[in-house]
Symmetry: C2
């Protein structure tokens, strides 16, 4: 089982803080946005006497409301096509385990969310990466690249849209390409749409919008980012494939039920006014604009403009992103401050890639982003391993 | 992946209820005991603004208090030896995945908690059952039976104490036998102690009380039954084996964190007065005494006196426990009432065993137990497949 590449720098950050250094956390996708009061209140005002197991697929009342939420997003599903999971993590694990046998292969455009590697190990399946490039803003790699790695063992493609770690928003045309691919090779399309509500350029195309591939598509969802409710650990596994729903329910039953409290929270959040996401999105967009502008103004730095999520990937003039991120925490301060970034190496499956790239999660406010960029700019002047 | 043998009868129970039949649920371990008010209040009175990821190992404050709880139970661990899990289920999955490779073998005395099968499938490991017998009250099978199935691939023994489904409480002497076995063959001992607080005869011997086997023992725990908080989904993976803790943290980090709300609940529950369990235990003991007495008074029925948990296994004069349990829901009523039981076949790994046994969970009050036993007594007179 591989260690989390994002969390391995934590001890260095803790050491920096003990020395009194202020650390700006751009390393992890924990939003600072407040969880909606009405959602927290639903939990705090609950009055049940026994904290019982819920249905293994989650509370029916929640699933029915969630189907209504999806309808607003143009996704037509009913509550029987939804299994509530313990975070998006479990939805992904369920998909890997229910759709694939040990030794099967899953194709994922890289850079990708590092924990897919862990889930693949748990399910005994092999990740086959297809490299996307910072030069194209991490657009979908050409279809030939997929075709090249498809074998008899290939069972699925994972697409995270908008993407973590790149922030790339796949276009309707790109989603159509994927559709043709899964039809041609009879594959599953696993769509991790954790960041669905955070699109800044154009419209989100859900895998569930694709026509004629109902039996191929699995939506893997979570309330973690949508409502800034990461600690709730509630997500959803959504598919119209009946046999797959039945198979997945066996995994759901084995672990008994998803967390009850956060199901209450998730259900209440669906009643938020239609403009709820407008405010949050405006804030994230402002942060994105700030960080992208600041990054591209630093000599030797290139950051494509991400269309969604709350991540940006940047190419830096450095020798080794792992060394650089550690150096930032261990050896650098500017006005007694430093910045914590995620080395991109952890998001690539192909060895050697990502050595001059980092991921930045803009989950801190604009003032903090500016202060963090001041640090980064200074750091890139001082870093002994700079390449220009 | 095998389906849950306990939940497969649910559609028949739902159909019976639709017909207006009152169904006494003795089939599932969902306690009716109220969750402690002080624990629920801790969640309801919480005042954080952002429902954040917790530490992947769980909140440090909770782990520190939990170490204090264990100390009271004679278990000496510190907070760094505890990983908070999503229910006891995840603690078991983590153990199976972190300690074993695909193809490895785990020995479990049968009948056993059916979901161990599912977790074994998820981890790709093979369950080797050792049969215990209702005649001895499901005592630990002789050591020779273990020795017979141990191979080079055997990596662990699972012991659930007090036992689900049998209610058997393993003695200190039996735990010593297991200790010698794991030393001799260099095995892990996975101790599922979900029902630790519910012992009615003698004292509980935790696997963590065993001396000199710190690197072999993993405690798999949960707050589900202890505080009647099944829906919280909070448990614990506890071991003094440092390498194993490190390996298990990788699995914990991949799924990010355990549920935050229920960690607050679990932490508050530790402050309950020392006599909290006395009341709950007295209630369960009364129910046990009632159900065991009523069962043994029915002609042809034998029920050993379980020393702990809230389950009883009974031998019935029937041809097939699956058919009988379904018949109870589909074709039988007494005063417009019936009873839902768990066929024991689902708890045995060896095909053919458990056909004349059922599990009864005494999670309903004494009056309801008596009414349910009235039904069962009548049903055993009427059942077409009775064997005497």
């Amino acid at each position: 089982m591989p260690p989390s590449p994002i969390r391995k720098l934590v001890p260095y950050a803790e050491a920096a803080k003990r020395k009194g250094t202020k650390v700006y956390h751009l390393n992890i996708g924990q939003p600072d946005i407040e969880t909606p009061q009405v959602a927290l209140d639903a939990v705090r005002k609950s009055d049940f006497k026994v904290l019982e197991y819920s249905h293994s697929a989650g509370n029916e009342s929640y699933r029915r409301k969630l189907a209504g939420y999806y309808k607003q997003a143009g996704i037509e599903v009913n509550h029987e096509q939804i299994i509530i999971t313990t975070g998006g993590s479990e939805a992904i694990i369920f998909g890997f385990m229910a759709c694939m046998d040990a030794g099967d292969e899953v194709i994922i455009p890289e850079p990708f969310y590092a924990n897919y590697n862990g889930f693949a190990v748990e399910a005994g399946v092999v990740v086959k990466p297809i490299t996307s490039s910072i030069e194209t803003g991490f657009a979908l790699p050409p279809i030939e690249d997929f075709e090249k790695v498809i074998t008899a063992k290939t069972k699925a493609i994972v697409i995270c849209n908008p993407n973590n770690p790149t922030g790339y928003l796949y276009s309707a045309a790109e989603m159509e390409v994927l559709k043709q691919l899964i039809i041609k090779h009879n594959l599953f399309l696993f769509a991790d749409e954790a960041y669905r509500e955070f699109c800044y350029e154009g419209k989100h195309t859900s895998a569930m919008h694709l026509k004629g591939v109902d039996d191929h598509v699995v939506l893997m969802d979570t309330i973690s980012k949508r409502y800034s409710a990461c600690g709730g650990r509630v997500g959803a596994f959504v598919t119209k494939n009946k046999a797959l729903l039945e198979a997945t329910m066996k995994f759901a039953q084995a672990r008994l039920s998803p967390p009850s409290f956060a199901q209450i929270l998730g259900e209440a959040a669906i009643d938020l006014p239609a403009n709820y996401f407008d405010t949050t999105k405006a804030e994230y967009k402002l942060r994105r604009d700030t960080i992208v502008k600041r990054l591209n103004a630093i000599p030797g730095v290139f950051c494509p403009n991400p269309g969604g999520a709350f991540y940006a990937m940047a190419k830096l003039p450095i020798d080794d992103s792992d060394k650089f991120c550690q150096w930032l925490l261990e050896s650098f301060t500017y006005n007694n401050q430093t910045v914590m970034l995620a080395p991109a190496t952890g998001f690539y499956s192909t060895p050697g890639l990502g050595k001059n790239e980092v991921r930045l999660a803009y989950v801190i406010n604009v003032a903090a982003i500016n202060a963090a960029m001041d640090c980064l700019e200074k750091a890139l002047q001082e870093y002994p391993g700079k390449t220009m």
